[in-house]
């Protein structure tokens, strides 16, 4: 059950969000201090309200155990927008973009890195210069996977891997470019493309 928050409750929730994003969830007394309350009881009342209305979850007898629910780690993906001003009903939410598992299924951060795309050799796959390509490190890949490959001259490129019987080559997604049949090694597989405007 998710209900409307009052203005003051929103203030409390925003304060918690801020602290979570900065570092860690606040303690009750940190919230009190931050918002000018002189009693821990006041904050407890607010937290109870936020729990009841479905915005946070709490662990008992644990310090800082305030977990923000769906609305805050995740961005809703809207399927249909009805009225003029979009104030999204919950039925219209198709899913969420989670800022955490965006890149990784449950991968360790050690296995993931990013490269900035240079050039236009993959435009037909919707990958343009300046994009950030998030790569999962792995020594092998399947036919048709887009991979980060290391060429002889120590250059890194993003290309589609083509394996035919015994041979493998790199195929650009741009008709102005030729396939690369030189020696290369696979660094990893493309997980995500990110483009900031």
């Amino acid at each position: 059950m998710v209900r409307e928050l009052t203005e003051k409750q929103k203030k409390v929730l925003e304060f918690i969000c801020e602290k979570v994003r900065e570092n860690i969830p606040p303690t009750i007394r940190e919230i009190a201090k931050g918002l000018g309350f002189s009693s821990t009881g006041t904050v407890r009342d607010y937290l109870n309200a936020l729990v009841k209305k479905g915005y946070v979850k709490r662990g008992s007898n644990k310090s800082r155990a305030i977990e923000l629910l769906h609305t805050f780690n995740k961005i809703p993906i809207i399927s249909t927008i009805a009225a003029g001003k979009p104030s999204f009903a919950y039925e219209d939410i198709e899913g969420y973009v989670d800022t955490y598992d965006l890149f990784l299924g449950r991968l360790s951060f050690n296995d993931v890195f990013a490269v900035r795309v240079k050039g236009d050799s993959m435009v037909d796959a919707g990958i343009i210069s300046g994009d950030i390509a998030v790569i999962k490190k792995q020594p092998v890949a399947d036919n048709n996977d887009i991979i980060a490959a290391l060429l002889d001259n120590n250059e890194v490129t993003l290309k589609r891997l083509k394996t035919k019987s015994n041979t493998a080559f790199l195929e650009p997604a741009n008709q102005n470019y030729q396939p690369i049949r030189a020696e290369f090694s696979i660094i990893g597989k493309l997980l995500t493309i990110i483009r900031k405007y």
Copy 2:
């Protein structure tokens, strides 16, 4: 100063990372319990080592105040890859993709939503069907901004906004499509494109 970790120190760091991603940083005693140590002193020694080697930062007299540094909330963007096996030196890191400020400068999550792209009307801008478009809600936009617009028939589209003197229209990025000169309203401005493979 960032130095190599021992295997056991890595275990401790990974445990902390796991807890951070699940919910909140662990307490000293939670770490001890999770890794089978019977003394809080042991954990303190490990934390000191992690601090000294530059992997975490700590707040004093604050519960759970373990802050993971760059390597863990952020994915490194590699500029050059030297040797065969990429074990990235720190000099090669061009920047970081932060999972938090990916979408928002410092926006409230209330002002941001996402739409899944349908159709190929924006392919020439590198936006293809299935992409997730993250939109910042706003009623106005500048000339040449890519925007989410609401049409008369309650349909949402992603198009480039063109404002000439007194008129405004929507321009697709695909030569097979015509500009839209019908009535529309601006829902918001494109912030980020995300494509998962």
